[in-house]
Every structure is written in structure tokens, then in C-alpha cells.
């Protein structure tokens, strides 16, 4: 009885677990149960029954309420799909003036909006792309194809790669200094001589359109949310879901609304990139000291002046960190958008992976990684750059960078011109190195991969088989063996024990949505893969983080490594694992582990670092040794922060599991991938995306609530 009083929570948890296992054992697997259940795939099967809701026919297999909940939400994807279709093709037909045929034409409103938006985006992308690479489309947009035929000289020439490279180096120098400038120059030269110039510039033009637009919308909405509680409350759930929604689940509805290509990808990228911008704008504006606002008011600012001259400049750093986030999200979307036909590096990567040409994939991947690091470092340097005073500088000092850029433009043009004489019969390498005409190391890598397979195949295969048979299959079976009711009880019970009735209701709602969707089994598979990844990642991350923390230099080094790895688009991680482990579940899981270890390590180091120095000294003076200090002082205090790391680890792991569908999994991600190539897939893709987001949010809610309480208890923040 004493124990019961001393550790009430412990017994509550035990009680919960007992109920959970009792439910698991008492509910048998129904005989009709099969893992593959195809309600979502519109395949007729005589074993299926149907029900009709909202005029939509939903097919389902017989079920047992305790074992799996009925797919009551089965109509949702169909309904979303039909509604989208209706909106696009039938809703509100209106007369629109057609410039080409010089007559009025009837078109549904949404279709017209979508087409207008699409052509506007296409124009923007081509404008920038052709400034960089040359082309006709921009001029055509202002004139016509006939006019181009008559005036063959009218073509944007594009910039020689030397000028773009110099521009990047000078910008990097202005933002940060010599080091970054040299890095920028080297990256550009590398891209060029390895023949990746064209796709890189395509990707870059994508970012140059998507990032500024996302920035403007994000800033605007962030300001609106800061000013009005109502706007903030309306935005909050969307922001929350978008944070845990796998990026490429959003691509599916984009296909329906905007079609295939760069423009659709840009529009959808904005939807993904705007939320972090809103959050950071809000964070920055909230962090402006109240006295600064009062000082602005007392200086006689009206609301507009207060916002533009006081609040936004004071929140400059956070807002620019938002810009950094926007750029990185846009970049990773630019890569993933290859799935819906966006051109650029991602497209090449996808192509190479599809052909199993690991060498080519590796080259594209390396290029992507280098550009990601460069963009990240440059935008961070911008955020951390302090404003300088230019009042008393000479004309030369003030315009040094512009002058240098002007000079490099002239030199670049001269070089390109000289190039036409040097490379008379071949390509003008001083203007642009064409794709596949640069140096290629693909053969070398491919041979390397072959060699690895020839030499280590036996061992890799043995490891693979062992992992799958001994660890993964049993774990998967355990997850699938959980009756839906038992899972619900476990999740809701955990919610209640951690955060009371409110938390319990939230997680109940989220879990119920997944349980009632037709993909509960798939969600379980996703969860099992994510769980495996998270356990391994945390084990590695916490250990590595703790070890690195012992030395200041190692900690700083490790954080730097995390910074770099975090900038890579998740897709890139698939290349090396496919190289080593081929197309198996193991590959996906290893990619998950590598990717998700980043936040686990980072938050461990940051958490341990955040323990106040005074406490550290106090502990040392009370005579503890290093180990005692770690276990008695540092871990308990750093633990809340480390749990936030766990939260991030879960999100990262989920993202990677979903992307892993590309290698071949049989979870929610695989269905999203299928939906991408299905013309009726929009509803399915979106619903699946929401399911994944909800899995993330369940853990997010539980962990955050717990951390909040713990921090309050410890008096941190």
C-alpha cells in the first residue's frame, strides 16, 4: 500500500498496460481478416460489402468491431475527390474573355482561377529560368510564336555560368566573408564542370520564384496573426497539421488543381513553406520587448509605422531565420516535386534512381547537398548579419560589391565570347557546360557499388535476412496483432495520465480518425517502421550526444555536423542506402535511422548544454564525480529538452518512412505514391497525408504536454 501512495503514477501506468494486454489477448484475430484490404483502390471484389453515404458508395470487407473499426470514413477520400472534381469542372461557370480566340468562353470559376494562376507562375518561372539559361518562352508571353518566327534574333541569351558563379561568390562575401565566398565559388565551379549546370539552374529558378512568394504570404499572415487573436486561432490547427504532414502527400491534390509541372509544384511549395514563415514571424514579433513597442507608440507611430519601422526591424533576426526555413523547405520541395514533373536536380535524381544508376544518382545527390548547404549558410549569414553604418564611407567602399559584380559580368561576357573561338566545333564550355558533357564520375561509383555487392553481398544479405526475419517481421506482426480497441484504450489512457481529460480527448479524436479511415493496417505498418527507427535513433543520438557533450569542441563539431545533415532534402538519404543495401525494408529503415538521429543528437547536446553553469559549479562543489553529475543533475534537467528532441525524431522518422515508399514499403507512404499516379487520387492522397500528420500529432501532443508540465515543475522557462 505504501508503494501505491508513493508512486501513484507508476501504478496508474501499470494498470493501463494490464488493461491493454488483457484486451489484446482476449480479442482474437477474426478468421476473415486479411492484411491486404483494398477499399481505397476501387477494385471490385465479390467478398466486399458496400454502404452508401452522402451519395458515395464505399466498399469494405467484413469486420469485427473489436478487432478493427469499420471504415466509416471511407467516403471521405471519394467525397474530397468528387468535390474537387466538381469545383474544378462544374461549379460557377462564368463567361471569360479569351485573348487568343477573341471571344467569350464559358468556364467554371475555379478552373479559370487555377489556369490564370498557373500561367502567371509559369511566366515567372520561365522569366527567371531564361534569364539564367536562355530561351524563348518569356518573349513569346509578350508577343506570339508568329512574331518569334519572323524575328529569329529574339531570344533571351542566358547568363554564362561564370557570371552566376561570380554573383554567388560576391553575395556570399557580402553576407559572411571570405570563407563562404570561396565555398560558394567552389560549389558553382563543381556544378558546372560536372555538367549539372542546367538542372541546378532550373532548381534555383524554382526556388527564386517560390521562396519570395512564400516569404511575402508568410510575413503577411504572421503579421495578421500577431494583430488578431482570431486569425491566429484560425491558423493554428493548419500550422500544426502542416508541420507534421509529409511533404509529398501535399503534392497529390496539386496534381488535380494545377496539373503537372513546375507551376503546380511552385504553388504547392508555397503551401508547405508558408507555415514555418508564419510561425517564425509570430515568434519574432512576440519577442519584441514591450518597452520598445511603447517607445514606438510614444514616438507617435501609427499602426502602420509601428509595424514597419519598429516591430519588423526589431524582429529582423527571427524573420530572417524564417526566410532560411522557407528557402530550405522550397529546396527540398523542389527536389520532391520531381514526382509531379518539376524539372531540375530532383528530376535527374529520380530518373537515375529509377534506372538504378546509383552513380548518376550520387552525382545529382551530391550536387543537391552542396547547394542545400550553400543556401542554408548564406541565408543564415544574412539573418545573423548585423546592420552596418554606411554614412561616412566613400563611393567605392559603399558600392564595392556592386562594382565587382559589374566587372565580373563584363569579364564573363568577354570570356563567353572568347569561348566561341576556342571551342569552335564543340560546346562553348565558357558559356555553359551541357548536361552529360561535363566530367562524370558515375562509372566509377557504379563500379564501386558493383564491387561492394560482389565482395560483401553474402554478409549484407545475411544481415538483411537476419534483421528482417528475427527483428522486423516479429515486430510488425506484434503491431498488426493489436486490436483497434486496445490501441485506442492505450493511447487515450496515456493521454489521460499525461495531460488529463483534455489531452485524452485530443488524442482520442486523432486516433479515431485513423481508425475509421480505410487504412488502419497501413498506419500500423507506418508506426511500426517509425517506432523501430525512433528507438534506434534515440539510442544512437542520446549516446552520441552525451559523449560529445563531455568535450566542448566535440559538442560544437557534432552540432555543426547535425546542421549540415539537416539541410539535405530527405530524398537524398535514399541514395547511399540503396547503394549499400539494395531495395529492401532494411534500406528504408537505415535511411530513417540516419535521418532521425540528427534531431536526437542535437537536442541531447543542446539540452545538456542548457543546464545552468551555476548548478554545474554547485554540483562540483558538493563533491560529485562526473558520472554522478551527469545522472543526478544534468540528465534530469536536460530531460524535457531531450524529449522535445524525441518529438522531432518522431516527425523526422515519419517523413523518411513515407518517402521510403519510393524504395518499396507497404505502408501509408506506398498508398500516397500510388495516389500520385492515379487520376482519382487527390482525395486518397490528402486523407493519407492527414493520417500521417495525425500519427505525428498524437505523439506531439503527448510529449509537449508532458514537457510543459515537467518544465513548470522544474521551473525552467
Amino acid at each position: 500500500m505504501d508503494y501505491l501512495k508513493k508512486y501513484p503514477k507508476l501504478f496508474q501506468w501499470l494498470f493501463l498496460l494490464i488493461i491493454f494486454f488483457a484486451l489484446c489477448f482476449s480479442i482474437d484475430v477474426p478468421e476473415t481478416y486479411k492484411f491486404i484490404r483494398g477499399q481505397a483502390e476501387f477494385v471490385k471484389d465479390p467478398n466486399q460489402s458496400t454502404y452508401v453515404f452522402l451519395g458515395k458508395e464505399v466498399r469494405y470487407y467484413a469486420f469485427d468491431v473489436f478487432w478493427r473499426l469499420p471504415p466509416l470514413l471511407g467516403w471521405l477520400p471519394i467525397w474530397i475527390n468528387d468535390s474537387l472534381f466538381f469545383l474544378m469542372n462544374e461549379w460557377m461557370p462564368m463567361e471569360f474573355w479569351n485573348e487568343d480566340t477573341q471571344e467569350y468562353k464559358t468556364r467554371p470559376l475555379v478552373l479559370e482561377i487555377s489556369r490564370t494562376l498557373t500561367s502567371f507562375m509559369t511566366f515567372l518561372i520561365f522569366l527567371i529560368r531564361e534569364t539564367l539559361l536562355g530561351g524563348l518562352e518569356t518573349i513569346v508571353a509578350f508577343t506570339s510564336w508568329d512574331w518569334i518566327d519572323k524575328n529569329p534574333w529574339a531570344e533571351l541569351p542566358g547568363l554564362p555560368w561564370t557570371i552566376v558563379a561570380a554573383g554567388f561568390a560576391i553575395l556570399a562575401y557580402k553576407l559572411s566573408g571570405k570563407g563562404l565566398a570561396i565555398f560558394a565559388g567552389l560549389v558553382m565551379v563543381y556544378i558546372s564542370i560536372f555538367g549539372q549546370w542546367k538542372p541546378s539552374m532550373q532548381t534555383l529558378s524554382f526556388i527564386l520564384v517560390a521562396a519570395p512568394l512564400s516569404f511575402i504570404f508568410g510575413l503577411g499572415l504572421g503579421v495578421a496573426a500577431y494583430k488578431s487573436k482570431r486569425v491566429e486561432k484560425a491558423l493554428y490547427p493548419i500550422l500544426l497539421v502542416m508541420q507534421t504532414m509529409p511533404q509529398y502527400a501535399v503534392l497529390v491534390p496539386a496534381l488535380v488543381l494545377f496539373g503537372v509541372g513546375d507551376h503546380a509544384a511552385v504553388i504547392i511549395t508555397m503551401i508547405v513553406a508558408v507555415p514555418p514563415m508564419i510561425l517564425l514571424t509570430l515568434l519574432g514579433l512576440r519577442a519584441v520587448p514591450p518597452e520598445v513597442i511603447e517607445a514606438g507608440r510614444m514616438s507617435g507611430c501609427n499602426n502602420w509605422q509601428l509595424m514597419t519601422k519598429v516591430l519588423i526591424p526589431t524582429a529582423r533576426r527571427d524573420i530572417l531565420i524564417g526566410v532560411n526555413q522557407v528557402i530550405m523547405v522550397c529546396f527540398s520541395m523542389a527536389v520532391i516535386s520531381a514526382f509531379i514533373g518539376a524539372k531540375g536536380l530532383g528530376f535527374n535524381l529520380l530518373l537515375a534512381l529509377n534506372q538504378l544508376n546509383i552513380g548518376l544518382a550520387l552525382e545529382a545527390g551530391l550536387c543537391i547537398s552542396l547547394i542545400a548547404i550553400l543556401l542554408d549558410k548564406m541565408s543564415l549569414a544574412w539573418a545573423n548579419k548585423q546592420t552596418d553604418y554606411f554614412g561616412n564611407l566613400t563611393f567605392y567602399q559603399r558600392n564595392k560589391n556592386s562594382l565587382f559584380f559589374g566587372a565580373s559580368v563584363i569579364i564573363g561576357i568577354i570570356l563567353a565570347y572568347v569561348g566561341t573561338f576556342i571551342f569552335k566545333d564543340t560546346f562553348n564550355y565558357l558559356f555553359e557546360v551541357p548536361h552529360n558533357k561535363g566530367i562524370s564520375t558515375a562509372d566509377f561509383w557504379n563500379k564501386g557499388v558493383d564491387w561492394i555487392f560482389d565482395t560483401f553481398f553474402v554478409y549484407i544479405k545475411a544481415f538483411n535476412t537476419w534483421l528482417i526475419v528475427e527483428v522486423l517481421q516479429p515486430m510488425r506482426a506484434l503491431y498488426l496483432r493489436m486490436p483497434a480497441v486496445a490501441t485506442l484504450v492505450l493511447v487515450v489512457g496515456a493521454g489521460y495520465l499525461i495531460g488529463g481529460i483534455r489531452s485524452a480527448l485530443v488524442v482520442f479524436g486523432l486516433t479515431l480518425f485513423i481508425a475509421l479511415s480505410p487504412w488502419w493496417d497501413r498506419a500500423l505498418v507506418t508506426t511500426y517502421m517509425a517506432t523501430f527507427g525512433v528507438i534506434m535513433s534515440c539510442a544512437i543520438g542520446f549516446t552520441v550526444g552525451t559523449l560529445c557533450f563531455q568535450s566542448k569542441r566535440a559538442a560544437a563539431f557534432m552540432l555543426g555536423v547535425c546542421d549540415i545533415f539537416q539541410t539535405f532534402p530527405s530524398f537524398v538519404y535514399l541514395i547511399p542506402v540503396m547503394m549499400l543495401f539494395g531495395i529492401t525494408d532494411t534500406s528504408v529503415l537505415i535511411a530513417v535511422i540516419v535521418y532521425a538521429t540528427i534531431p536526437a543528437t542535437r537536442y541531447t547536446i543542446e539540452g545538456l548544454r542548457s543546464v545552468p553553469a551555476g548548478l554545474h559549479d554547485a554540483a562540483t562543489m558538493s563533491g560529485v564525480n562526473k558520472f554522478q553529475r551527469l545522472t543526478k543533475i544534468e540528465f534530469p534537467l536536460a530531460f524535457p529538452h531531450m524529449m522535445l528532441g524525441l518529438n522531432q525524431t518522431i516527425v523526422f522518422a515519419l517523413f523518411m518512412v513515407i518517402i521510403g515508399a519510393f524504395i518499396g514499403t507497404e505502408d501509408l507512404g506506398q498508398y500516397i505514391l500510388k495516389a500520385l499516379s492515379d487520376k482519382n487520387g487527390a482525395g486518397i492522397g490528402l486523407t493519407l497525408g492527414i493520417c500521417v500528420a495525425f500519427i505525428g500529432l498524437i505523439f506531439d501532443n503527448l510529449i509537449r504536454t508532458w514537457v510543459g508540465q515537467r518544465k513548470k515543475h522544474l521551473g525552467i522557462d
Binding site: 520587448p289 518597452e291 520598445v292 511603447e294 517607445a295 507608440r297 510614444m298 514616438s299 507617435g300 507611430c301 501609427n302 509605422q305 519601422k309 519598429v310 526591424p313 526589431t314 529582423r316 548585423q386 546592420t387 553604418y389 554614412g391 561616412n392
Partner: protein, 343 residues
């Protein structure tokens, strides 16, 4: 006497959802406890006072006493829940947004405890900020701001950023900024509290020098009783939103109105605060020596001279006319007597 520059009549500031309704129901009898039980916090409780032109009113109170809230009501950074505030006869609470902005652009200046400088602007740009907000041309505002830079003694640092300045220098910028539009009314919210003691003393002297020259109408907030005594024409002592006593420093030290005020006055070195005028005998005795002292002298400065006399000393006014006398024993009593622990 002319119209007061600032006039408050029964000003209340109560935070909470039903503040206004509860205030109306209470008929002006606000009890902090009952309000707190209903989820309201009383910031300012029935404050009435006037500040006349060129006068410095120091509001003194410990943290949570409502002194900053009172100041923010008068600058209308927050709206008072009840009562009336007049600025030069204008009803502050009736001003619309545009009139309020006009008032702030032309009549008010404010200095903040944490300096509240704009981090992205240089010293001179910070000072020119209120002028530019007003719509004055950049060159004119900068040249005006340069005058202000000289006034607060920051010449040569005008192109520094706030992050490159020490606390004292930052507050000089804050002071210069608040004076840039040449306001009539000057609010200072614990301007020196964030500074080191030595810098604080230096800034107080500097502040007195400035006020000598500018003669602004000032409301000065502090939690430091010594600072209040040193600077104030009159002091208002606040506790739990209520003004406990509002009087000249000498009268507060000599006649603390409440037990709370007495606690502050106990440790005050009276010889540094009180003037001869405050302790002299107004009945003119014949039995005075040759020494004469001015009524405006601080006791500390003339105590040694007076104590060296056997007889009483004559006290004169500015026209050198004898208006009273003071006995050496009175000085001794004033300085050492009347304290809790003295025997």
C-alpha cells in the same frame, strides 16, 4: 496659478475581464482583495493629483505598487478603467487615435527602464526617429538629432549602434530621443534603475542639470526613495495602487502620513534632505549671534557653522531679511533625534 499641465481625477486601472462592470458596482470603493477574488487585479486605485508647469513629480513605490501602470494611464499606453485625466485641459480619454498620436508627436516624451532603443538604428537615427515619424525631412531631423546628441554628451558616438554602447550611454540616447520633439511633458519610467550605482549618480546629476536648463513638466517613476528625495519637487508614494502620501520631500520626511511611509523615511539622512527653512523657528528671538544662514541651505552644509555657535542663529530669506532663527540643539535633535532606535 495657471492650469495644471497634468490633472488626474479618481483614476482607476483594473485588469481583468469584468473590470469596468465591477468598478461601476463598487461606487469608487475599490477593495483589492474582493476584486482579486473575482479575477481582477487592481493596478491603480483612485489616484487624484495635479502636476503644474515646470514641476517634477516623482512617483515612488516598490514593484507591483502600480506606479508604472499609473504612468501608462497618463501617457495612454493603456486606457484607464475609470476616472478622468486632463493634459493641458484636454480630456485625454476622449481623444481619438489621430489626436492621441498628434499629442504624443508634439507634447510628450518618454524614457524607459530598459532603454527601448531600436537595435537596427544608430544613435543619431534613434534620436531622429520620433522626428521622422512626424514626417520631418531626413536632413532636418538628423541635424536636430545631432543637437540632441551634443546635449546629452554623446558627440563622436552618433554613428554607433545601441549594442556598442554601455548602459549609461544607451540611456543617454533614450533621454535624447524623448527630448527630440521638444515635448512639454516628460515621462521617465525608472530611467536609472538598470544602471550601476556610480553611473546612476552621474546620470541623476546630469538629469538635474538638464532639467535646470529645460524646465519640463516631469513625471518620474522610481523605486528608490533616495533618488526620489534627490530629484523631486514633490513625491507621491504608492502602495497597492493607492497613493499613500503626496507631498514635498521635506514634509514627507518630517511628517510621514502612514506607517508604510515612515518605514522609508526612518533611514533617511535628514541633514541631507531638510533645508534650514523646514526646521527653523519662525518666532524671531532677539538672542541671536552674528552668524546668518539662508533659509534655502541644506542642513548638512551649514550644520558645522551653526553647531559652533552658543546662541541661536538668524535665518534670512533671499532678500537678506531675517525671517526666523535656529538653535544648535534643534539641529542636533533633527539629525539624531526622533528615530526608532535612538535613546
Amino acid at each position: 496659478m495657471s492650469e495644471p499641465v497634468i490633472k488626474c481625477e479618481n483614476v482607476y486601472k483594473i485588469f481583468g475581464a469584468n473590470a469596468e462592470k465591477m468598478l461601476q458596482e463598487s461606487n469608487g470603493n475599490v477593495d483589492a482583495r474582493t476584486f482579486q477574488d473575482n479575477g481582477c487585479i487592481v493596478g491603480v486605485n483612485n489616484a487624484s493629483f495635479e502636476v503644474s508647469k515646470g514641476e517634477m513629480l516623482v512617483v515612488m513605490g516598490l514593484s507591483g505598487s502600480g506606479k508604472s501602470t499609473l504612468l501608462r494611464c497618463i501617457s495612454r499606453l493603456t486606457d484607464a478603467t475609470g476616472g478622468k485625466i486632463f493634459i493641458e485641459g484636454q480630456d485625454l480619454l476622449k481623444l481619438n487615435n489621430k489626436e492621441l498620436i498628434d499629442l504624443r508627436r508634439n507634447k510628450m516624451g518618454m524614457v524607459f527602464q530598459s532603454f527601448a532603443l531600436l537595435p537596427h538604428k544608430t544613435v543619431v537615427e534613434n534620436i531622429a526617429f520620433p522626428l521622422q515619424i512626424k514626417g520631418i525631412k531626413t536632413e532636418d531631423s538628423i541635424s536636430k538629432a545631432m543637437d540632441m546628441v551634443k546635449l546629452v554628451g554623446l558627440d563622436g558616438r552618433e554613428n554607433y549602434f545601441p549594442r556598442e554602447l554601455s548602459g549609461g550611454q544607451q540611456q543617454r540616447v533614450g533621454i535624447a530621443r524623448s527630448l527630440a520633439v521638444e515635448p512639454d511633458i516628460w515621462f521617465l519610467d525608472e530611467p536609472f534603475s538598470a544602471l550601476d550605482p556610480l553611473i546612476r549618480k552621474e546620470m541623476q546629476d546630469e538629469f538635474l542639470r538638464l532639467q535646470e536648463k529645460l524646465q519640463k513638466t516631469i513625471m518620474f517613476i522610481t523605486h528608490d526613495f533616495d533618488e526620489a528625495l534627490k530629484l523631486a519637487d514633490r513625491i507621491a508614494i504608492m502602495k497597492d495602487g493607492i497613493i499613500e502620501q503626496l507631498d514635498t520631500p521635506a514634509k514627507i520626511v518630517l511628517n510621514p502620513a502612514t506607517e508604510y511611509v515612515r518605514k522609508f523615511t526612518e533611514e533617511v539622512p535628514r541633514e541631507k534632505v531638510l533645508l534650514i527653512e523646514d526646521v527653523m523657528d519662525t518666532s524671531i528671538t532677539e538672542d541671536v549671534g552674528d552668524l546668518k544662514v539662508s533659509k534655502d541651505e541644506v542642513i548638512e552644509n551649514v550644520a558645522e557653522k551653526i553647531l559652533s555657535q552658543e546662541k541661536s542663529v538668524a535665518v534670512t530669506d533671499e532678500n537678506n531679511k531675517v525671517i526666523g532663527s535656529i538653535n544648535p540643539t534643534k539641529i542636533i535633535n533633527t539629525v539624531f533625534g526622533g528615530r526608532k532606535n535612538s535613546n
